[in-house]
Symmetry: D2
Amino acid sequence: MTDTAEFPPDDDPGRDGGPAGWLTPEDLAAARAQLPLVYVDAVPVRVDESGDVVAVGLLLRATPLGSMTRALVTGRVLYHERVRDALLRHIEKDLGPVALPQVPASPQPFTIAEYFPTPGITPFHDPRQHAISLAYVVPVAGDCRPQHNALDLAWLTPEEACSDTVQAEMVNGQGTLVRQAMAHVGRLD
Amino acid sequence: MTDTAEFPPDDDPGRDGGPAGWLTPEDLAAARAQLPLVYVDAVPVRVDESGDVVAVGLLLRATPLGSMTRALVTGRVLYHERVRDALLRHIEKDLGPVALPQVPASPQPFTIAEYFPTPGITPFHDPRQHAISLAYVVPVAGDCRPQHNALDLAWLTPEEACSDTVQAEMVNGQGTLVRQAMAHVGRLD
Amino acid sequence: MTDTAEFPPDDDPGRDGGPAGWLTPEDLAAARAQLPLVYVDAVPVRVDESGDVVAVGLLLRATPLGSMTRALVTGRVLYHERVRDALLRHIEKDLGPVALPQVPASPQPFTIAEYFPTPGITPFHDPRQHAISLAYVVPVAGDCRPQHNALDLAWLTPEEACSDTVQAEMVNGQGTLVRQAMAHVGRLD
Amino acid sequence: MTDTAEFPPDDDPGRDGGPAGWLTPEDLAAARAQLPLVYVDAVPVRVDESGDVVAVGLLLRATPLGSMTRALVTGRVLYHERVRDALLRHIEKDLGPVALPQVPASPQPFTIAEYFPTPGITPFHDPRQHAISLAYVVPVAGDCRPQHNALDLAWLTPEEACSDTVQAEMVNGQGTLVRQAMAHVGRLD
């Protein structure tokens, strides 16, 4: 959730005029105030040949105030878009076109992250909106290059990604989501 | 999805004037044409003392044309509502106030059912909208009485619920969802 | 795994002469040296009316050296025993006959804990054997009383159960398993 | 389970003299009569670029009586072997060394198949033993060639794999397991 919270999202087609059927900025703002929106969160990972997770990819972004945050790949599911296509689109948006993601065969997410505009109801918070996010661990086999508003993509070990230092650099509960993902893949420290 | 497709949904607060912050019918109609909506599907089951599913509860409804359909408990997640509270609300709406549902401890659904307005993209279809539904199996321990527009609630064995006869009485892919649920609990015939 | 590692397990029928078909102590010892054994781990929890986990039950045990450890409900799956019956049997063994456990409807565990006799291969370790454990979160609604070799059963909040203090009181990786369970139910701190 | 039920399994190191620590045929036979054994079942699938399952790989085998059966990749987890390494080993054994399997990052299986020596307790049956099998869907990206006692490997669409004709060619409940897998990946017909 951090990307669009802190930067004008150039990935959201409705914002700058997309195909017919997408929302105008005003319509999206109105909907955001009254409906939960559907999001996906992807935790990009490197796996070894036995499928074991060896690294987690976190995007590095600058906030308007100049501090740094780390973030997952995240974004909205569009009207008439399949969840797996939304995952692919946001991974390509953030990691580039040759990341070679292996989107899971099953639509079953490892968890549902409920981002509330009010802090404290769940570990997840999004000041802009109520977002219900389907969270997946996605192995990427190719070359990843941060796109758009990300300064860098860092590959951390599961232990590093769960460390206090890195957790302190994540906002809106995404640190918790990373640890939930590492728990799911058996790599919670 | 069948309930609100075929009957004016008296459970949808926006339709007949709900608390502030809920959508007017016009707003909801506009959003439905442009955003995927978040739903929950609950498969109500009876379990024995070892947790094994022994029966599936299906609602019986009459269509405007007079035919009968069977349906799951389903409905929209409202703004600022937790998924588990939406599950509870829709189960109470359809099964009554003393059904004693055991909402799963984990938010991980057994699948995501993507209901598209266009048939054939997934097994799920909703002519009104694009709905992304989080699907859960929910044991109910109490007394269940169909409410509102349901004529009856029938408890079927897993085998009966997956039979061709019963499957033919379900619409919009909910028969598939029942069989996915039975596969998940190890009771697919 | 801690129970039988540190105490003669009076719950293991083969040890003190069980029904025909169960292993003698010598046979079980031989098998333990050559085959992975099937275990279940149950994380007993209290849930509120919406299914949200509010407390985790941990058994308090004394080691032969007089220190205290906290442990989950755990034990072997017997020949010709269903996994859900093994869960029930071990929960009754450790929490007493009126714990009223709600064994999950689905056989899908939240994780597989692989306890190796060699430390460091996974987070889980069992010096006696290679145990492959199917791990489940099990809500219990009734009155729980520690049985046999447990001194006490303590109900902790998810935050307390994941705290450094409590984690330090768990052995063989069960602290990690508790945190994996809390991650799965959305209550990882 | 069908492979070793019907043919001397040349993949089981204990049978023909493996590394120290593995069981002799007599020991394995004794253990099989008294302990549940740990197995893995892999459902090999082809996925498209969005991760959607487009084909299921089934092995074709001849029974001693000359009829044909279709089977999944299956086999025992050895002492001190990780579940993911057992999956890799059995996939390589059955599909050859360049199948390029993508073993799931998470150890969470989509189901547990409990094969009992007594038919009818679960949908799964193994006349030789009580086997508790962790079941995974495994995408394979490479060239697959049936090995050992398999005559052929056929790629079927999910619909074909769930059809009555193909289901009738599977034994011991593996047809049910295929349909459970297709339900899990959202491709149950």
